[in-house]
């Protein structure tokens, strides 16, 4: 319950945080909402020497439209997103996922940027961001760069983010008209992380799917795009029959996680079930 002691710096701005990070290097950890880091620190599973607090930075907390992109500040809380009309109108899976994260208290405090940087293999956002073709904007000493969500999650709790970089924003391209999406999740009953979460989006052109996006979380060591399911439905009618056939490919070639709540076999089964549910909902 009592974390180790550490140095605390309250960053005045993102740039200030970058300076502090450059100064403290590997000893420092960024603190945003703190809902991934503090629980680990309380159990002393993690004992950082320096914390740089960016949780209060207003410059990171916004949800806005910029051209044909929805831009969410990294400091936006899950609750901000759950209640954002703009987010809902862009992709309903954004609000659906936000609503299923942790509990009310966690959603009030936890941030999108924090969750993405943490890259928990069972977190909800990574799958949604991949399915939404989001671009993740990161700032470092050399300035700002953008990483596609597809390339961002590189493995178990690991991302394309360098040690001296901060996620500043998430840019989600406005989907074409006729797009519908859904996030469906089977919860681990104790922690309520995803055992399997599936984000799916379908764009219709006439009666056929002109674009299909499917991504999973919880299944393996990082969220990933299910290109095989996407391809199976591309330019097909999103009928139950076609969807059922397509989701048979869920988890193909994936090294699935297992724990006492869900074995590998059961997880793969759930991946098919929840991919179907997400796609059926998106097809409506």
């Amino acid at each position: 319950m009592i974390p180790n002691n550490f140095q605390y710096h309250r960053a005045a701005s993102v740039d200030d945080a970058l300076t502090l990070m450059a100064k403290h290097g590997m000893d420092a950890k960024l603190l945003a909402g703190g809902h991934s880091l503090l629980p680990a620190m309380k159990l002393r599973l993690n004992q950082p020497d320096v914390l740089i607090d960016i949780g209060h930075l207003k410059e990171l907390r916004y949800i806005k439209k910029e051209g044909n992109e929805l831009v969410i500040g990294a400091g936006a809380t899950h609750d901000d997103i759950a209640h954002s009309q703009m987010a809902r109108e862009t992709f309903s899976m954004l609000s659906e996922a936000a609503d299923l994260i942790g509990d009310v208290q966690v959603r009030n405090k936890g941030t999108l940027g924090g969750s993405l940087a943490h890259a928990d293999p069972a977190a909800d956002w990574p799958a949604v961001m991949i399915a939404a073709h989001a671009n993740i904007e990161v700032k470092g000493p050399q300035g700002t760069r953008t990483v596609a969500a597809d390339d961002f999650f590189t493995g178990f709790f690991s991302t394309a983010l360098a040690d001296n970089e901060i996620i500043t924003a998430i840019r989600i391209p406005e989907p074409p008209k006729g797009t519908n999406s859904s996030y469906q999740k089977f919860m681990q009953p104790a922690s309520r992380f995803a055992i399997v979460g599936c984000a799916a989006s379908i764009t219709m052109n006439g009666r056929l799917c002109s674009k299909v996006s499917v991504a999973f979380t919880g299944l393996s060591d990082a969220a990933f795009r299910a290109s095989n399911i996407e391809a199976a439905l591309f330019e097909k009618m999103p009928t139950e029959e076609n969807i059922t056939a397509a989701v048979q490919k869920a988890g193909e070639g994936v090294m699935a996680m297992s724990d006492h709540f869900a074995s590998e076999e059961y997880r793969l089964h759930l991946a098919r079930v929840f991919a179907k549910r997400a796609l059926m909902a998106a097809a409506k």
């Binding site: 009592i2 002393r44 089977f186 104790a190 922690s191 006492h260 059961y266 079930v273």
Partner: protein
């Protein structure tokens, strides 16, 4: 003016809790208080090679580090158990020592190795990290049945095969075997009644406070029974005279059994405080609570029930391995034996019963009473057998029960019912509760809906459970004969103040049950005074003469009855004073609505007047002592036997195996009811815990004795959105042998609900030919069963 009994009076204690003014142990801050952190074994079984405390002791702010060697050198004893169960051959059970800190060997993951005392809890925690303990890890065993097998690692060298005791109750085995051999049908089930973790939301905490100047000790602790803790700690562990020790259990945030027991940390805080001459506080983290609070259940059982052609039960044969953990906790030997075996008659007329229990040590934390304690295990066994038998014999599960129920008896006109397993039931009407529950659920209609739903591919199920429990624990002579090392009476003192206000001291303890309200209702009604004039005091050995605490749904039946005894004495003495004041004869007076009236006249004297006279005895009956203050010990004549019928309706998601509890109906008969609101609340909470065991909860130990779901991230607690609102009703069959006619309601919900839910899931899964699954019925377990 006063008529509180039977009314849903709002709780007196709520005000402090809803305003954040409750005072729990961890809220208490004493001057110069130091803080303790306990270094615990990460291994389930390990030899302690060395403990190096030097770095920790060198840390600024660290006052002292004590190890198992310090404890051993001080010559104090370990934690005792309060119950003795012998081997069948008459040998005494194995009772290995349980030191406050271990010096040589750790025997479960979490066993206490050292304690760091520091100026702040932060420093204590930091220093705990640098106490260097060298262990040699040894093989461990966590499963009770495996622990008895040849070659299993031994928990204690002097307990061969890890046996603590073996025990038998009921009809001789030969008689039962004979009855079973003639059975038309035998239903057999083998299962584990899994280990669950009580999880009171307030973690345990203890403050030891030794005052050198007057050589007095105070222990503040999260206890359900401060007096029992004092008795065990003083007389058996520390050897301190009891009159020098005050034990206070202030507001306690739930217990469910887990806070009955005298824990090592309590004695340890007193011991440390005495050494350091400062108050010392320890509060468990939840992680620590998972590892060190006594767990519940954990039986491996084979049960067989025989039936004749008509479906009448002819015999029951039970073999159980009960996991006791690494050491014997306070009630541990009693729970799987006398609180389990004696309940195997259930509500049925079973003519031959034999139960055989083996108590086993394992490298796990202690197992002891958890809400229901033994009775849920007995009920689960019986009710699963009945439903399975109904399925096998193609009979209706409700009808099969009704056919086998003991006929109604009130214990007054009809005698109590003598079971095959040592108990005599007080009063019961078992058909009544089940018929009412079936009516509430709309049984016939449900079966039609179920049929229709099945055609649509939906898996609906209904499950029954009818239970009986032995509460109001317990007649001292009886439990003494059964191995209890204490009496189980209760103390109730009623002190009438000169102004007619009443202070009531009870040895029962409230940690959520609402004694301050229920007991005040009883007192106010009996004395005919407003409830506001009554104060209930509990939880402090200094103010309450003695007590045995709260567990086993005993508070009102035993503690309430003790208060009633004192009230009777108050009224009797009051009558003498009133008679004197009214210049009438005592026999001509009647006491009602707070005054003594000369029968047939309007001449009366009020309670307040009598009280004042008792304390200002200027004009007073000759030879009568002043004052109006009585204390009574009530030792119950028998256990009380609440019973009920529960019905669960579930739907299983075919795709995922996830069980949704759609409805839960509970009709309970807990005897007379003082406060229906509180009784319903007790039932609700009990149901949630029982449902939790059926669907969600269960401690998981790996092969090395590591508890692998020791946090809320992995141990599934039922949450608000996991449960429906419950549908409750009540039947009242008063208890014939206590003055209030009450039976107890604290455990009913837990006992009845678990098998109802499991039976409902089995009913839902019956099209798949599934008869038995282990608890908790997790989605994967159910899905696998459907797909195998």
């Amino acid at each position: 003016m006063t008529n509180y009994i039977g009314k849903a009076v709002k709780r007196v204690e709520d005000k402090r809790f809803i305003t954040g003014k409750g005072r729990y142990t961890d809220d208490i801050v004493l001057p110069a208080m130091a803080h303790a952190y306990i270094v615990r074994s990460p291994y389930a079984h390990a030899r302690i090679i060395s403990v190096d405390t030097s770095a920790a002791e060198a840390m600024e702010g660290v006052i002292k580090v004590f190890t198992g060697k310090d404890i051993a050198a001080s010559g104090i004893n370990g934690i005792p158990t309060g119950w003795q169960v012998n081997f069948k051959n008459g040998e005494t059970m194995k009772e290995p020592p349980h030191p406050l800190l271990v010096a040589d060997k750790a025997r479960y993951m979490g066993d206490a190795v050292a304690v760091v005392i520091a100026e702040t809890k932060e420093i204590a925690r930091d220093a705990g990290d640098i106490v260097e303990v060298e262990y040699e890890e040894l093989p461990a065993v966590a499963d009770a049945k495996k622990a008895t097998e040849p070659g299993a690692p031994l928990v204690h060298d002097d307990a061969p095969n890890n046996l603590c005791f073996d025990w038998e109750l009921g009809n001789p085995k030969a008689e039962v075997n004979e009855a079973m051999s003639k059975a038309h049908h035998i239903t057999t089930l083998e299962f584990t009644n899994q280990r669950v973790i009580p999880n009171a939301i307030e973690p345990r905490s203890a403050i030891g406070h030794y005052e050198e100047a007057n050589d007095k000790y105070t222990l503040y602790t999260t206890s359900q029974n401060p007096h029992l803790t004092r008795l065990l700690m003083c007389a058996f562990v520390l050897g301190i005279p009891e009159h020098k020790v005050r034990v206070v259990a202030p507001d306690v945030g739930g217990g469910f059994g887990s806070k009955i027991f005298h824990y090592a940390e309590e004695a340890l805080m007193i011991w440390c405080s005495q050494r350091l001459k400062r108050p010392v506080k320890w509060t468990a983290d939840r992680s620590e609570a998972f590892m060190t609070d006594a767990h519940g259940r954990d039986h491996v059982t084979k049960a067989e029930m025989g039936f004749d052609k008509e479906g009448k039960i002819v015999g029951l044969r039970v073999k159980t391995y009960a996991n006791l953990g690494a050491y014997l906790s306070t009630f541990a030997p009693c729970v799987p034996t006398w609180l389990h075996g004696t309940l195997l008659q259930g509500l049925y007329t079973t003519p031959k019963i034999n139960v055989d229990v083996t108590g086993v040590f394992t490298h796990t934390v202690m197992v002891d009473a958890y809400r229901g304690a033994g009775r849920p295990e007995a009920t689960y066994l019986l009710e699963r057998l009945i439903d399975t038998a109904a399925l096998e014999m193609k009979m209706d599960p409700a009808q099969l029960r009704l056919k086998n129920f003991i006929p109604p008896f009130d214990g007054v006109k009809q005698p109590g019912y003598q079971t095959q397993v040592a108990l005599q039931y007080d009063s019961g009407n078992y058909h009544g509760v089940l018929n009412r529950a079936m009516e509430m659920v709309g049984y016939e209609q449900f079966r039609k809906e179920q049929e229709a739903a099945r055609k649509e591919g939906k898996l609906l199920g209904i499950g029954f459970s009818t239970y009986i429990e032995a509460c109001g624990i317990a007649p001292s002579a009886v439990v003494g004969a059964l191995g209890a090392r204490a009496g189980l009476y209760e103390v109730g003192q009623v002190r009438v103040q000169p102004t007619g206000k009443v202070s009531v001291y009870t040895g029962a303890h409230s940690h959520g049950q609402g004694h301050e309200t229920t007991f005040a209702q009883v007192v106010a009604d009996r004395l005919g005074i407003p409830m506001d004039d009554v104060e209930i005091i509990h939880g402090d050995s200094e103010s309450v003469a003695f007590g045995m605490g709260t567990y086993g749904s005993r508070s009102l039946a035993v503690g309430g009855s003790a208060i009633v005894k004192s009230l009777d004495k108050i009224i009797e003495k009051g009558a003498k004073i009133a008679a004197h004041k009214l210049e009438a004869s005592e026999e001509d007076l009647e006491f009602a609505e707070g005054k003594w009236t000369v029968k047939g006249t309007d001449k009366s004297v009020g309670f307040g007047d009598v009280a004042l006279t008792a304390y200002v005895p200027h004009n007073y009956p000759a030879g009568l002592e002043p004052g109006l203050d009585f204390s009574s010990f009530y030792d119950p004549a028998n256990f009380t036997y609440p019973f009920g019928a529960h019905i669960a309706v579930v739907e299983v998601d075919k795709d995922t195996g996830k069980v949704a509890l759609k409805r839960f109906i509970a009709v309970d008969d807990v005897g007379n009811v003082i406060n229906p609101m509180i009784v319903d609340g007790q039932i609700h909470g009990g149901l949630a815990q029982g449902i939790g065991q059926a669907l969600f909860e269960g401690a998981l130990y790996d092969d090395n004795g590591q508890l692998i779901n020791g946090s809320y991230m992995d141990y599934t607690m039922p949450r608000a959105d996991d449960l429906p609102s419950f549908e409750l009703d009540r039947q009242v069959t008063p208890c014939p042998h206590n003055p209030l006619g009450v039976k107890g309601a604290g455990e009913a919900g837990t006992i009845g609900s678990t098998p109802a839910v499991v039976n409902a899931v089995m009913d839902a899964l019956s099209p798949f030919g599934i008869k038995n699954l282990e608890m908790p019925l997790t989605p994967e377990r159910v899905w696998r069963a459907m797909n195998s």
